[in-house]
């Protein structure tokens, strides 16, 4: 399985840009923070380096300009200004386009022009923080270095000569090769680097500058960096790292590792080790675990019937392990919502500029974990809701102050887990939803009759109606062809729900309830004819018995009365054309989506079942009644009913039947 190496670079570049962007957004709030300046610089530097390595020359060239600008900020001759940060933010967008191969050169040039202007405006101004820090990392008269490259450095594309040249560019360098590790000819591996170097660097050089030279190899190499002519100071405070200038000492591996951890590429590891795995491998693992659980349940049956105690004990052990593996497997797909929320900081930043409003974003519960697929599918609806809040909800600073509120509008994004669901709320402290305008618009559109009495929830619910938008004029922000109806549909496709609350003059809250994972649902396993089916438990309202006499009596109308409401029902035996006779005691499972209710007549209710959902094959795309399939304990396949489709199927049938009869 050979992968396109540029695909790996694209992923890495995406992450780097994400880090750079977060760094820039933080920097915008704390312009003097040198740690952030350095982080952004290192991100740009790495991006340039790996871009060039993978042949993304335009990207490397463009990034080089931004890196240079940031290097000047780092060194203190340019001040970090909001303008500069904004330019680099849009430069980041351009870099993304360059990575995707969809960039317009003219746009790139325009950004570089703006960059030059921003740098000029910020140049030569005293930058206290930056200047102090540029000096801080122990600029001395010079350094002595002792280093050996990782053996596979050349195989990985590192050119040792280029590294030496980079060192020479830093200052006056004396470099001596150590050849004692070179083996005899028969043991020589041509592409292994056996040479080590001792180097003396004279000049006003920061340790950062030296570390930058070794940025891509630092993780695996042995290196000692010590200030010249001072008492020896190794790159990290490991006490035993104390070589003299010419000492032939290899730094302890600990020192190399610690040094490596200062690199930006390793920054992600600060929050714990992470491994990137393609989703399809996780799915394959999930399939294997599914098989294991099935094989295990067969083993349990065999062991349960036999007399062999040892077999039974092994079987129980395997049952426990399989169950745990399954649980662990499920958690593998969960990621914290911070990965989602982080992306909205940029959106708010841009919206504030576009609308001219002052907006603050507060996020809560970012460690709440949700299935990765769910997170990805939540992004677009949330963008829409947040845009709405900023565009329609929040007032301008002037209006806010006049209304006695702080000039800065607040958007609060919070997540927390409640049982098998996660609640995501988007709150703004704006003017609230104008109910009179909703009513007027709905009346104008003929959705409701003038003066029709409605509950507050019903009235607010009108905004989810297709084609409904209360914006007096379609603005750049909200008029993008998607309305709240699309948001609602997306949320419902995730088996979630959405609720709007609004207080006049004090703002609105939109709450999304989303299942934690799409991979598992609680289901009710039923039998219809000889087939077994799963009804998602979230849709089940109650189960009733339908005796054969009642069934016969109800022929021709298929309606039951349940607490003074008429509920149509579908005989799944007929819908699925099973060709079997009904059981004597059939059951009706009453299911609902929204306000609609339908009874589904089944032959037998087998019980609750935790279901791993698997998609239907593309060959069954035309079959609407099933939302997916699952594998039961005995290895057979059960289909999962698509309740919305069945309810829709039930309604017109019953209306036809009523109209006819």
């Amino acid at each position: 399985m050979s992968e396109d190496p540029t695909a790996a670079f694209r992923i890495e570049a995406g992450e780097l840009l994400e880090q750079v962007e977060q760094g820039l957004l933080d920097l915008r709030d704390r312009l003097g923070d040198l740690g952030l300046v350095n982080a952004v610089f290192r991100g740009l530097h790495t991006l340039k380096g790996s871009g060039a390595m993978f042949g993304f020359d335009a990207l490397a060239g463009f990034t080089h300009h931004c890196e240079t600008a940031f290097d000047r900020v780092r060194k203190g001759d340019v001040r970090a200004t909001p303008e500069l940060v904004d330019v680099i933010l849009s430069a980041g967008d351009h870099m993304r386009a360059l990575v995707d191969g969809a960039a317009s050169p003219a746009e790139g040039q325009a950004i570089l022009d703006r960059l030059a202007a921003a740098v000029d405006a910020a140049a030569g101004v005293d930058a206290p923080g930056a200047a102090a820090a540029a000096v801080a990392p122990a600029a001395t008269q010079g350094w002595t270095l002792t280093f050996t490259l990782p053996p596979d450095a050349m195989a990985n594309g590192t050119n040792p000569l280029a590294l030496l040249d980079e060192l020479r560019e830093l200052g006056e360098a004396t470099i001596v090769a150590r050849t004692d590790a070179i083996p005899t000819l028969d043991e020589l591996v041509p592409n292994h680097c056996f040479v080590g170097w001792d180097c003396t660097l004279i000049g006003d050089i920061t340790r950062d500058a030296i570390e930058d030279v070794f940025l891509f190899v630092m993780d695996d190499m042995e290196i000692t960096i010590a200030p010249l002519a001072s008492q020896v100071e190794a790159i990290d405070p490991a006490p035993e790292a104390a070589p003299g200038p010419a000492a032939d000492v290899v730094a302890p591996p600990v020192a190399a590792n610690d040094a490596g951890n200062r690199q930006p590429a390793a920054a992600a590891r600060a929050q714990g080790e992470h491994v990137r795995v393609p989703a399809e491998r996780l799915d394959a693992l999930m399939d294997r675990v599914g098989e294991l659980v099935i094989a295990q349940s067969r083993l349990s049956q065999l062991a349960g019937h036999g007399q062999d105690l040892a077999l039974r004990s092994v079987s129980e052990e395997i049952e426990r392990l399989a169950g745990e593996m399954r649980d662990t497997m499920m958690v593998l797909r969960m990621v914290p919502v911070s990965t989602l929320f982080g992306r909205f900081r940029r959106l708010i930043h841009d919206l504030a500029i576009e609308t001219g409003k002052s907006i603050e974003l507060v996020t809560e519960g970012e460690t709440t974990e949700v299935d990765k697929t769910v997170i990805e599918r939540l992004f677009d609806p949330l963008v829409h809701i947040i845009r709405n809040s900023c565009d329609h909800g929040l007032e301008t600073a002037g209006d806010r102050i006049a209304a006695g509120k702080p000039g800065t509008g607040l958007i609060r994004l919070s997540a927390h887990q409640a049982g098998g669901e996660v609640l995501i709320t988007i709150t703004d402290d704006g003017r609230g939803i104008a109910r009179d305008r909703i009513r007027a618009k709905a009346e104008a559109n003929g959705l409701i009759t003038p003066g029709q009495p409605m509950s507050d929830d019903e009235l607010l619910g009108l905004i989810f109606h297709p084609g409904f938008s209360t914006a007096a004029q379609v603005t750049n922000l909200s008029g993008r062809g998607v309305g709240m109806d699309v948001v609602k549909r997306t949320i419902e496709s995730l088996r979630g729900s959405i609720v709007v609350k609004s207080v006049d003059g004090a703002g609105s809250t939109i709450t999304l309830r989303i299942p934690l994972t799409l991979a598992i649902i609680e289901g009710l396993l039923v039998r219809v004819g000889e087939g077994r089916y799963v009804i998602p438990l979230s849709a089940v309202e109650e189960c009733l018995e339908l005796s054969l006499e009642e069934d016969l009596r109800s022929r021709g109308r298929s309606i039951i009365t349940l607490r003074e409401r008429l509920i149509p029902f579908l005989r799944l035996r007929e819908v699925f054309d099973t060709g079997t006779r009904p059981d004597t005691y059939q059951k009706i499972v009453v299911v609902g989506t929204g306000a609609e209710r339908v009874g589904l007549v089944v032959d037998q209710i087998i019980g609750n079942h935790q279901t791993v959902i698997k998609a239907m094959s593309p060959l069954h795309r035309g079959v609407a009644s099933f939302a997916g399939a699952t594998i039961l304990g005995d290895g057979s396949v059960a289909l999962i009913l698509d309740i919305a489709q069945l309810v829709a199927l039930g309604q017109p049938r019953e209306e036809r039947r009523l109209a006819a009869g």
């Binding site: 094959s617 069954h620 057979s636 396949v637």
Partner: protein
């Protein structure tokens, strides 16, 4: 292995195929697309699905459709026998590799067919639609049918905006 309308004959070796029997005819599939041959196992009917793929099976924890070419080739349904097998193949449908199980009355052998023995399906003289066939190949007094599977399945994978109605 790519699956093209015209079989990818190599001059020296011909085309390596798996032959199987269905409704009295001999069919052949490029050996490279065959993943596994399964004994008969429990199937799950998919109500409302097209007769070409009316069921699913559990293939190593994955839900795989079970296709039955008999209908498309005008053959009668056939009871399962001790010789019946399911051939699991991987085909690219809509750009995605897709696993499909094919029902077979019996699986014969892996053999090599030669381009020189191949003929386009005649306009008359066969009882099934000509476009279901890539070519016919004469072999040891028999005729082997190379079905055009992507063509057969295209009807099902077309984004169905008009869902199949249930009875």
């Amino acid at each position: 292995m790519p699956y093209s309308k015209i079989p990818n004959w190599t001059p020296e070796r011909g085309l390596e195929v798996l032959t199987f029997g269905l409704g009295g005819e001999t069919f052949a599939l490029e050996a490279g697309i065959v993943q596994e041959i399964l004994d008969v196992q429990p199937i799950t009917r998919v109500p409302g699905a097209d007769p070409l793929a009316a069921a699913v099976i559990n293939f190593r924890g994955r839900i795989v459709p079970l296709a039955d070419l008999r209908g498309s080739f005008g053959m009668e349904a056939h009871a399962t026998t001790a010789d019946s097998r399911i051939i699991v193949i991987e085909l690219e449908l809509d750009g995605d590799p897709t696993l499909i199980g094919l029902a077979a009355d019996r699986v014969n052998e892996v053999t090599v067919l030669h381009a020189g023995d191949a003929e386009e399906a005649p306009v008359i003289g066969i009882r099934w639609p000509r476009e279901h066939v890539r070519c016919l190949v004469r072999r040891a007094g028999d005729v082997v049918v190379l079905p055009d599977l992507p063509h057969l399945f295209a009807r099902l994978t077309g984004r169905a905006d008009d869902p199949v109605t249930l009875h």
